[in-house]
Symmetry: C2
Subunit: 357 residues, 2 copies
């Protein structure tokens, strides 16, 4: 607290990101990073970048990357917005669209940053409970609202929402914006980008931090009707003219252009996920059906915090959310086959799990 | 306009950055970039960076760069804040400190982004006129306020404020925050960083875009009392956990560590500025006394827009502000000696200036 702080920030509770440990000998399955490096094309593009150009400001519109993404998703450039990671894109979207007189609707369990943005921008919101199977039940989102947001697949459950249900929601909800956060969509979800031309009330966000292995460079995007993109540009240009740096744009363009590599590593992660799910079920875990690069699991007889601690002592980092309703679970990022084998072997060595093999 | 936009953004007027032309054969003296490349140490650090690490999130606190800057300025790490360019640092500071019941005070002529932030965050502000010689007269900033902000040296005038006057302002104004934006301080201004330990109401912002030749990478910083830095961290962590990417941090640390190069290029720019000022005065220009990497000049008989157009047709880009009171002036960035010679030669070829040599 300080007398110099704006009154509105005195009660803010910031988002807590997963731990980024400074020691290097841990197997990091806690922040949904990609176990594979970025495309070799990224390496080449960065190595051939002329460093002396860094003395100049970047293109404030990052047009090169807008073009690459527009082409990739068969959109026009004015349907693409870019930001410094999808967290910034989301923050700007909350400012641009959700400061309304009616409440924003979101699932009771979803990416926890959404509530932080509401606090920061003083946006009222209402949470809809998940269904009993932990899925998002969009038929419940029927009340008057100033917008709807959810992640698809959802976080931290990993469960996808069928596109047909999203389209039905868009039809029922033509007067407010529906934001679908597709951070994890490349690992088996169905993207709503194909609906953009038909629904001017749809905004879809993506990130380069998961499927494109570029968490270290901070690149996010939004796709939607040109009027929505214009609203985002207006807020962005009132906040920070140049959010994407030259090297981030260079790397991102190279990544988008190497589609074969992208598809290959996504497929590898999906296949590692499926074998991990089998192994975890054999150990007696309850595993929610994931279409993402992580699994959300609980064991009927061992608490989530005990398991996290047990793994951490054996140099395996996973994420535990200390929140009612979620605290029985662990969120485990899908690493390489070898990393997941180490995880499974380590779990087998747990005194209460040792019998299950 | 769109029915999906938040009402508050319908009337926003975004900041207009200087043009970043896509053609390459122009002499760019319009956005205060450094004519010299970043330190060779930046090149080395980027070339030896292991690209595969980009799959991981960066350190959300950018501790390595905080340490380097704390050491450089003889501060502790908790007196240093970092952001995605000083524009983002300023935006977060407006949110953290200036949303008060009393108005923010600022000069009528200063960095025009300040008023845009006020619009975005619905902050009331009052503008104090400049003195007749275009300097900031801090003795006028005497009314009750929710904060004071100005650039030192000021933009776009380039005129510095003496440190003694800033200290007197801090003493008169102990109950609200004074933000000194030192984007251009390394070209001859006096930094207020040395006052931080004595004045908990002082926040100083810096950028790597001008004196450190890293505009392309987006790195800004703020320095102040740990309670002020904590307020900034709280807002930052409610907005975007990871604003600085790994390559930007790597480059910035290398830049801070090569002080000899930094001092050398700043000194070169200062000396080019001095010779440019002489040459412009010989051509009959009125040149405001600059302590920055640009000069703000007007000619008694040629309009600012005519001169800008004349130069542009000859592939020299300078900045003209189409605002009452400023529209007679041009803001000319200091380039290399050769670039400035081209500028002077080109001006000599102007029909109304041809006699002045």
């Amino acid at each position: 607290m300080s007398k110099f702080w704006s009154p509105a920030i005195q009660s803010l509770v910031p988002y807590t990101p997963g731990e980024q440990p400074k020691v290097l000998d841990l197997i990091k399955l806690n922040t949904n990073e990609n176990p594979y490096p970025p495309s070799p094309a990224v390496n080449e593009a960065l190595c051939s970048f002329a460093i002396e150009r860094l003395r100049l400001y970047p293109d404030p519109d990052s047009s090169q990357l807008k073009q690459a993404l527009a082409q990739y998703h068969q959109l026009s450039e004015d349907q693409v917005f870019l930001g410094n990671g999808s967290d910034e894109v989301l923050a700007l979207a909350f400012m641009a669209f959700f400061r309304q007189s009616k409440p924003l609707l979101m699932p009771a369990v979803t990416y926890s940053f959404y509530q932080v943005y509401c606090d920061l921008f003083q946006i009222q919101f209402r949470c809809e409970p998940l269904a009993d199977d932990f899925s998002i039940d969009l038929s419940r989102y029927s009340e008057q609202n100033g917008g709807i947001i959810f992640a698809n697949p959802n976080a931290p459950t990993g469960i996808p929402v069928p596109l047909t249900e999203i389209e039905a929601l868009l039809q029922r909800n033509r007067d407010s914006l529906v934001l679908v956060d597709e951070a994890y969509v490349d690992f088996g979800g169905e993207s709503a980008i194909g609906l953009i031309d038909r629904y001017p009330n749809l905004l879809v966000t993506h990130t380069f931090s998961k499927s494109r292995s570029l968490a270290g460079l901070r690149i996010g995007a939004a796709f939607g009707h040109p009027e929505l993109i214009a609203g985002l540009e207006r807020v962005k240009n009132s906040f920070n003219s140049y959010p994407l740096d030259m090297l981030a744009v260079t790397a991102a363009v190279a990544s988008v252009q190497d589609d074969a590599y992208f598809r290959d590593i996504c497929q590898r992660i999906i296949s590692t996920r499926e074998s991990t799910v089998c192994a975890l079920k054999q150990l007696g875990f309850d595993v929610l059906p994931s279409a993402s690069n992580f699994v959300f699991v609980r064991h009927p007889s061992i608490t989530g915090s005990d398991l996290m601690q047990f793994l951490r002592e054996r140099k395996l980092l996973v994420r535990h959310f200390n929140r009612p309703g979620l605290d029985a679970f662990l969120r485990i990022t899908i690493g390489t086959d070898a990393e997941m084998q180490t995880l499974i072997d380590t779990l087998h060595s747990h005194p209460q799990l040792a019998g299950n093999h």
